[in-house]
Subunit: 479 residues, 2 copies
């Protein structure tokens, strides 16, 4: 990693102009105030910056961007700073300013008839979920960092999470965007329309662009009817193929009811039980493979409980399911989910681990888990593959835990070998090296190999067309 | 409309090179063979062209595009040539070649476990639907031209249709694209992945770009479980607000079951009964407003019939529904749908009409229909507003039929006044002047007023970045 330089002070003319536009709350230059924004959530990078711009409105943001553009100062958009790939922190040069969307956090409108809400980019995901609940609706995007991650961030990274199998990714939950271009021009695309075919879909270009084409400042989001029934089952299954077979049984019976379908490995559940207080194994015997299935429906009498029992009974008879526990209360359902949600924390407590956020077609998930696990165990003897995640949408976190009692640093030094090992198998299976975390800074060096040629060239041309001076989040996404 | 020139012969060197690459089936230069491709489906435009390129593979297409690019010959992609806005026909200059995707019509793969199929751009939509049915799945995109429109066309225009309320537009049914850039480079983005965040979403830029950025040559499409139950109800309703209230009743009871929710006006149904053989009014008394609701579910025992009866009973008691008929058989359900599907034909037989394909937030549909109807009747005394369409997704075809016995030409001369009248109201309600038909050539002159400023400038920069010579479908989308 490069050395981190001291921050380069902003030109005095820019500083005073920004102060005039933004006011005292809108510009932070004290090193103590800036520090929390300089390191990424995973601690992979340590950046430097002379200032954080914290606009209180889209107009203030646009004015600040115009000023930065005039002075050719690079800007790094930041929401909750929970990127898994270092996408929201400045580099080591000390020359990039952080633009925090935190104060742009209003709910501008919410309409349960249209089932839409118009919210600003800095609104925390959990607050958006709560706002929907407040009008008896559901905003379904759900992920580990939801208490910190912001709407601007989840849209800029096209976040996925647990409910993609039913509701899609952040992209599918977005109808319109307000955007600020790298030169400070504002595009008001806050249209709450299910159909609008009027030229190029700039909103879809900005979703997933990780702030390299401009700012997302507000969005029209879709809401859904809230769930009136919910069942959660935790199942020990025979093997990876049995897990997939069980998914198909549920999907075929009621595709709309499968809100999440998560795969868990025996080792992963062992670690959760070992390290996390209150986590216990809900089935009678340890197994090498588990799944967690979450069924939900807005229908008042959906009959999810008999549905779950009938499907599990069939799968037991077929030998796919070995044992299963269905949550009997809200508390029990939460306890079952906790086994899954505590996987990252349990892996962290066990020692060093390397994360692989990969996806393949759903039908290839069993083969991917099997082949990657074997290849990783062979690559680093004693290491422990801990695959877990979203089997229903093909996205498995194919993580590897260090050998027991081994040296964490020596293990982490093999990070790139580990990622390459997984990625080669994923490539053969028609998959992707970054399913839901994006590219950020961590994976830019993989872009040439995976998206090189005409595809990467087209991306570079679009970047140059919208950000000719290269001021928006430099060093991210594109190599 | 400009005069149509004689076609300008292709340079001899280009002609022979194309012949060598494409073979005898791949290049048509006989005027008789070319003629059907020169006029758009609605008969709004009459173009001219020296040739139709009909490649048999993506590689042939790419080679032909490279040759045309070298000779600076403009290319007009054409699928089923069913555009409502003249998007797929060459202009009058005689200098644009048509590139027909018709021979690129293979189904490359279909997988009922992944619920995806990989198909080429020239495949007719109906054939894609049938292929899905063949593996006991559903490809839900459904629209009037489905027997002729192609997958490349419906993706390039982000087609909508009847089932958007449940399944989204063509965009939401697409996972990956194979694309050919204006310089002939091929992007293989045929990834069958629900999660893939690896740089800019070029596929979403090409969807809806109407062939102005390059060619869509193949796509990975999503499939869904097929319906195991289906109910169709035709209802006379009190007014526009009652129609919306009924939609909300069905959505709240089972959002996943509402596959289509269509509004019909009294006049529209009158015209269908008058002009279309076999179409009769299925309820006891004529009304000024009707809706057609289509419920479908993949659940084996979804109970849609009792659901429909319960909801209609409530709405009858509330005075929203005046009378309702539920189809008792496949044949009766088809007959109810026919009242809706024959609307365009009935309007045509009655005389001249002007089409307005507009959308507003769902909650504003009643106000939009009411205000537009009044304004149109005032604009042209004796004219008959015939609003109909997709109330569930906010997209109403706010059409106007000429006065009875009046002069069609005099009426059509007011087309722009009529469109402006509707569009001004739609704009006030936060709507769009083109919901599902796109811009094509017909609406390019509205782009400046609706999407002007930063938004249109960004589109132009993207166009210039990917098609610097301006060879792809010139004169479409961008003014």
């Amino acid at each position: 990693m490069p050395d981190t330089h001291a921050p380069a002070p902003l030109p005095a003319a820019l500083l005073s102009a920004l102060q005039a536009v933004l006011g005292p709350k809108g510009l932070l230059t004290d090193p103590g105030d800036i520090a929390p924004a300089l390191a990424d959530w995973r601690g992979l990078y340590q950046g430097a910056s002379p200032a954080i711009i914290r606009p209180g409105s889209t107009q203030e943001l646009a004015a600040a961007v115009r000023l930065c553009a005039r002075h050719e100062v690079a800007m790094v958009p930041q929401g909750g700073n929970t990127s898994m790939v270092g996408g929201a922190t400045p580099d080591e040069s000390g020359r990039q300013v952080v633009v925090s969307l935190a104060r742009l956090n209003r709910i501008r409108a919410i309409d349960p008839v249209d089932m839409t809400m118009t919210v600003e980019a800095g609104l925390v995901l959990k607050a958006a979920q709560d706002a929907a609940t407040g009008v008896d609706c559901l905003f379904p995007l759900s992920l580990g960092a939801e208490g910190t991650a912001t709407i601007g961030g989840v849209l800029s990274t096209n976040a996925g999470g647990n409910t993609t199998v039913r509701y899609g990714n952040a992209r599918e939950l977005m109808l319109g965007l307000e955007m600020v271009l790298p030169d400070g021009q504002v595009i008001d695309g806050l249209r709450a329309l299910r159909k609008d075919n009027t030229g190029y879909a700039l909103r879809h270009l900005f979703v997933g662009a990780e702030g390299t084409l401009g700012f997302i400042t507000a969005a029209v989001l879709r809401m859904f009817p809230r769930a009136r029934e919910n069942e959660v089952a935790f199942c020990a299954v025979r093997d990876e193929e049995a897990a997939l077979a069980l998914f198909r049984r549920f999907r075929d019976r009621d595709e709309g009811a499968v809100r999440a379908f998560e795969y868990l490995s025996g080792i992963g559940v062992d670690l959760a039980v070992k390290h996390i207080e209150g986590v216990t194994l809900p089935v009678s015997e340890r197994a090498d493979h588990y799944v967690l299935v979450d069924l939900a429906s807005s229908r008042p009498e959906a009959g999810l409980r008999p549905l779950a029992e009938a499907v599990l009974e069939e799968a037991l008879e077929a030998g796919e399911v070995l044992d299963a526990a269905i949550g009997e209360s809200e508390g029990q359902r939460a306890a079952l989910w906790r086994i899954r949600e505590e996987h990252p924390e349990a892996q962290k407590r066990e020692g060093a681990s390397v994360k692989n956020d990969v996806s393949v077609p759903v039908s290839r998930v069993p083969e991917m888990i099997r082949r990657c696990s074997a290849a990783l165990a062979a690559l680093i003897p004693g290491s422990r593959p801990v695959p877990f995640g979203h089997m229903g949408d093909g996205n498995i976190h194919m993580n590897l835990e260090q050998p027991e009692g081994g040296d964490p640093a020596a293990f982490l030094a093999r990070s790139h070998d580990i990622m390459d090992c997984v990625n080669e198998i994923v490539r053969e299976l028609g998959g992707s090296f970054s399913a839901e975390h994006g590219i950020g800074r961590l994976k830019t060096d993989m872009m040439e190999s995976w998206r090189g040629g005409a595809e990467l060239e087209a991306m570079r041309r679009i970047k140059a067309a919208l950000d000719p001076a290269g001021l928006m989040n430099p060093g991210k996404v594109l190599p």
